[in-house]
């Protein structure tokens, strides 16, 4: 059905400046991607609200569902900074979100979805100078859902908010900081105690031995998405 209108499930031409893959490879990855970047969230929106909306695009009877949600956090304050990643089990579910949810409201803000290459360690943090998303540093308007005025006033807002909101104060860095979300069904092991007690890491865990070299840490990619 692509002749008469453009489908809404096409990825934007955003390119993660910190990824080392070329555009061809990136397009291949996006054509199988199960992960969405969600932007323009209110800083106050919770993962459960996100779960509720995005579950509506899930196909559990096809082996799908929401695998995990990774809340984007301010690097310094460890508070939500307006974006997240939603990872499904299937590509079709990510496409459904692009078609049906992107451009609708969550928590009274119009959110935007984009197909994403997949979560990599460290991407849960904002890449702006202040710790949040770069787009908030350039912002001139007053946005109560995003901590008031731009980056400067925002600091005060966040300070105030910290009193009540310490949900992610325990957010960790490094490998294994973010849950894998559970993999495919496996026949239960019938082995002894010892192997059962080993921490079962799903193969999808972002163990990430191939950490990407990060030379241009200040380059904000998430800002470009908007």
């Amino acid at each position: 059905m692509a002749h008469v209108v453009a489908p809404l499930d096409q990825p934007s031409n955003y390119k993660d400046s910190q990824t080392r893959v070329d555009r061809q490879r990136q397009n291949d990855m996006l054509s199988k991607s199960t992960t969405l970047y969600i932007g323009n969230l209110s800083f106050y929106t919770t993962e459960e609200q996100i779960y509720e909306l995005f579950t509506k695009c899930a196909s559990p009877d096809d082996g799908g569902g929401i695998k995990r949600i990774i809340m984007g956090l301010d690097r310094n304050t460890r508070t939500p900074c307006g974006f997240c990643f939603v990872e499904y089990y299937t590509h079709a579910e990510a496409l459904a979100s692009m078609r049906y949810v992107s451009g609708t409201k969550l928590d009274e803000r119009i959110i935007r979805c984009d197909l994403d290459l997949g979560y990599k360690e460290g991407r849960q943090f904002g890449r702006g100078k202040s710790g949040g998303q770069v787009r908030d540093e350039h912002r001139q308007d007053y946005d109560p859902g995003r901590g008031g005025w731009g980056a400067q006033a925002q600091r005060l807002e966040i300070e105030r908010r910290r009193e009540v909101e310490e949900r992610y104060a325990d957010a960790q860095d490094g490998p294994g900081a973010v849950a894998g979300g559970g993999g495919d069904w496996k026949e239960a092991e019938s082995t002894g105690n010892e192997s059962r007690l080993k921490r079962g890491r799903s193969p999808e865990d972002e163990g990430d031995n191939t950490r990407l070299q990060r030379s241009r840490a200040e380059e904000d990619v998430d800002a470009e998405r908007m």
Binding site: L8, P60, R68, Y168
Partner: protein, 888 residues
């Protein structure tokens, strides 16, 4: 979004120049592409004005690239069905010879295009692309009226489709689509066809009628308005697809298709008839509708049942909300044309809901003038056509909702229809908004008068998401009088559910503020008093075992190792069992409750925290689930798993959303199995009174249904994944073997003996395939178990034996006609029983594709005990089952 932002342009940009360049290249359009685009865009401004111009540019595009032209027609016809009559007019003009370009008949441009178009039609038919096939038939039907296609060959085409209805064992999905193809073709081409042969018209109608007469039982199970005591499916406020097709067709036939001209646009009607001396109409070749492809992967369950899943086997009911003078009655020819035109738009433009909304609101442009009320403020106000003059927005919303409420499931995800209505409202708030409001009120009004429970659940879901997009502005106060209804009355259940769904998308305080005081009042039980937070039972120092629980919680907080927590719990258990006051009766249960609640406590901050907590302590969870017997593989200990589910539900008893999420993840991480969740939902759930509306006698509300659905979908989804894995591995191995064989042949092409030897080698499955097959066997077993426990649960809820605990005494009353007619006096238990019956129906019809595979075993397990029984509840249970599994 733009990469041209002025403040950008550092070195980084340049490095990626190549990446961007390949996107920014200007698209060069060849003349052929331009012409194709022009054909597809035909009529965007003024279809009548454009016709001669487009004809001219096509004629001038010599030498003709016929495939390009016919492809443009094919795309136009199958993707813009509202313009089909105009494409028929265009083709007709291209067929005629003109003064400037006299064409001999064999070189007629129109004919060449039509011949090539036919190839495309044949390809759609071969793929059984039903919608495209049907829309091509529309095109042919218009061309028949435009005298370009012979009536005889058009009859032949339509009768190839009615032939499908007589196939032995034809599936309903296939028959339904074939019948609609034939019927719609006949509606449009009727004026010519009837004049040619009234007898053949009658044959087509009779064939559809005869088929439709055989599908009465499924209709009883699938109508959106429940009348459980009656055998009839029909209802005045819902129309079934084949029923309306037949009615519209018969109405047309009675007047010899005089109404076709006022139902379907015929822009070619004014063209002079072709000169029959020099013209032979095109004869459509004869076709055969190919049989459905059955994928034979030979995968059966370990007890030999077929494990294929086949959906779309049901009649389609569309709920009507408005009167016939507001929105068209699809049983009339003109009403059917509008209905099917709008439903086609919904399906075709599913990929872009914004464009779909725009096209829906522009729909009147393509209908016969006077079909819809003119837009206010228009310059020319046409005379209203009697019997038409419908309201566009109400019509659109009624059809979108009608498609959304199709049972057992809509063709697309709920959120598509919901998002589409949002876009419609955004495009024209002042006209669509009121239509949405009226629809909500109409639907609400049917609650309590038999609106199906699944439709009611979808209604609540739509309501909540819609309100979430429009500031949660609803005039709740108009429903205040209904607070006097009994607490489980469908209207009150709707209000509670809608508010619960709104809170999930927003937050408690925000939603509370949107309500009038009467609804906020806790005694009216419409919304919770407080935000739905966690409930750690051992939090209060005065509670028993507070200290023990705190110690466990602190271990988790301090990120103690799983094995250390396990040994701590072992010690704690020993202490509890030998304490001074004689020991705790169920120390195992208590330990599980403390451990699970403490773990959920550290995971209660967010969904991610929950996942982290579970992943960090998987060994502990497995240890608990297997009752400490960690060498036992697999299924764990049933009682321990019930305790885990009970502790989780108790922890989140004020937040049912979290109960569903936790259960889902416990299944995902294989701590519990789907059948454990099913069993728990029917039996143990009642222990936590705060959790459920359906306490007291065994019964199910929408919340329990959601838990069941979550478990069943998980079981079915796993089988689906396992099946795909086996198929992929088999294909891989077949390919490898073929390659080995081929290379062997290459090496010793002359060596006949060697080849024979290769063939004799028995195929040995790789370890990966063996594992995948084993997983498939385990998972189909689990699937069957989960389905069986669900059926059994419903049976004991709805036809309780005299010895069953806590039976609902009303389950037999609510299904009788007398009982139903006395519903104004029903209390909580009666409505609960009625709703449980509703969920049983939804279970049978929506899981029918899976249930069919196991129908013999499941029947024996759950229904054999009713042999010879005259219990009306047992009869209805069996009847519902038989209809769903296709045995009645």
């Amino acid at each position: 979004m733009s990469y041209d932002r002025p403040h950008r342009g550092g070195g980084n940009r340049r490095r990626h120049r190549d990446d961007y360049d390949d996107r920014r290249r200007d698209v060069y359009e060849s003349p052929a592409e331009k012409l194709k685009a022009a054909i597809i865009k035909f009529g965007e401004v003024d279809v009548v004005e454009e016709l001669p111009r487009l004809e001219k540019s096509i004629r001038e595009s010599t030498p003709y690239a016929i495939p390009n032209l016919s492809e443009a027609f094919r795309i136009a016809v199958t993707e813009q069905p509202f313009k089909i009559p105009h494409y028929a007019a265009l083709l007709r003009r291209l067929h005629d010879s003109t003064d400037e370009v006299p064409t001999a008949e064999d070189t007629s441009l129109g004919k060449q295009i039509l011949e090539d178009f036919w190839k495309g039609f044949q390809a759609y038919l071969d793929k059984l692309a039903w919608r495209e096939t049907r829309l091509c038939i529309h095109f042919f039907a218009h061309l028949t009226v435009a005298k370009l296609i012979s009536a005889d060959s058009m009859f032949g085409l339509l009768q190839s489709f009615t032939a499908v209805l007589e196939e032995f064992g034809v599936s309903h999905g296939r028959a339904k689509k074939a019948a609609v193809c034939a019927a719609e073709g006949l509606m449009i081409a009727g004026p010519i066809l009837k004049a040619s042969s009234a007898e053949r018209v009658q044959e087509i109608i009779s064939a559809i009628q005869a088929y439709n007469d055989t599908v009465t039982s499924p209709k009883w199970l699938i109508g959106p308005i429940l009348k459980m005591y009656s055998d009839e499916g029909s209802s005045s406020s819902a129309d079934e697809l084949l029923d309306v097709v037949l009615q519209a067709l018969k109405t047309l036939d009675e007047s010899d298709f005089a109404e076709t001209a006022s139902s379907f646009s015929q822009p070619y009607a004014s063209f002079p008839d072709p000169d029959l001396a020099s013209f032979t109409p095109f004869n459509l070749p004869s076709v055969l509708v190919p049989p459905e492809v059955i994928e034979l992967d030979g995968l059966a369950t370990d007890s030999g049942e077929d494990a294929q899943v086949k959906k779309e086997e049901w009649p389609e009911y569309f709920l009507r909300l408005f009167d016939n003078d507001v929105t068209p009655d699809p049983k009339t020819p003109a009403g059917y044309a509008v209905h099917s035109g709008l439903i086609d738009l919904l399906d075709i433009f599913e990929v872009n809901r914004k464009e779909c909304a725009r096209l829906l609101l522009e729909f009147p442009k393509w209908t016969i003038p006077g079909t819809f009320k003119p837009k206010p403020g228009g310059t020319v106000v046409p005379e209203p056509v009697p019997g038409k003059d419908w309201q566009l927005e109400s019509t659109v919303i009624e059809n979108v909702l009608g498609a959304y409420f199709v049972l057992p499931e809509s063709s697309h995800k709920s959120i598509y229809y919901i998002g589409l209505i949002t876009e419609l409202c955004k495009l024209s708030p002042s006209t669509v908004g009121p239509a949405v409001g009226k629809s909500i009120r109409k639907l609400y009004g049917t609650l309590g008068d038999g609106l199906d429970v699944e439709v009611a659940r979808r209604f609540a879901e739509w309501f909540a998401v819609h309100m979430s997009n429009f500031g949660f502005q609803w005039v709740w106060k108009e429903w205040i009088p209904d607070l006097s209804l009994t607490v489980q009355h469908p209207r009150r259940a709707f209000m509670r559910r809608a508010l619960e769904f709104e809170i999930r998308l927003s937050y408690h305080d925000r939603i509370l503020k949107t309500l009038p005081e009467e609804m906020q009042a806790p005694e009216n039980r419409t919304i919770g008093e407080q935000a739905p937070g966690p409930n750690f039972e051992y939090d209060d120092p005065a509670k028993p075992h507070h200290d023990a629980a705190l110690a466990v919680l602190n271990l988790f907080r301090g990120r103690a190792k799983a094995e250390d927590v396990i040994s701590h719990l072992d010690t704690l258990k020993a202490t509890l069992e030998t304490s001074d006051d004689g020991g705790v009766v169920n120390a195992d249960g208590l330990i599980r409750s403390i451990a699970i609640q403490s773990l959920l406590h550290i995971g209660s901050r967010s969904f991610s925290h929950l996942l982290n907590a579970i992943e960090r302590y998987l060994p502990l969870l497995r240890n608990i689930a297997s009752a400490g017997a960690s060498t036992v593989g697999g299924s764990g200990n049933a009682e321990a798993k019930v305790d885990i589910l009970t502790a989780s539900a108790a922890f989140w008893k004020y937040n049912r959303h979290m109960v569903a999420i936790v259960f889902d993840k416990l299944m995902q991480y294989q701590i519990v199995d789907p059948s454990d969740v099913v069993g728990w939902t029917f039996i143990n759930r009642a222990e936590i009174r705060e959790l459920s509306e359906a306490t007291g006698p065994l019964s199910l509300s929408a919340f329990e249904w959601d838990l069941l659905k979550g478990a069943l979908d998980k079981a079915n989804g796993r089988v689906m994944i396992a099946r795909r894995k086996v198929t992929a591995l088999r294909k891989e191995e077949d390919d490898t073997r073929a390659r080995v064989k081929a290379s062997g042949e290459d090496g010793s092409a002359m060596d006949v003996d060697a080849e024979v030897k290769t063939d004799e080698t028995p195929a040995v499955d790789s370890p990966a395939l063996t594992t995948a097959l084993k997983a498939f066997a385990s998972l189909t077993r689990e699937q069957k178990g989960a389905l069986s426990r669900t059926l059994d649960g419903f049976v004991s809820c709805l036809a309780p034996g005299s010895t069953d605990l806590n039976p609902n005494p009303h389950s037999r009353v609510v299904i009788s006609e007398v009982g139903w007619n006395e519903r104004s006096g029903w209390e909580k238990d009666q409505w609960n029983a009625w709703e449980t019956w509703g969920w049983y129906r939804q279970f049978c019809r929506s899981y029918a594709p899976y249930l069919r595979n196991y129908s013999t075993t499941l029947w024996t397990v759950s229904f054999a005990k009713f042999d010879g029984s005259t219990d009306p509840a047992a009869d209805l249970l069996k009847k519902t089952w038989n209809v769903a599994t296709g045995q009645e």
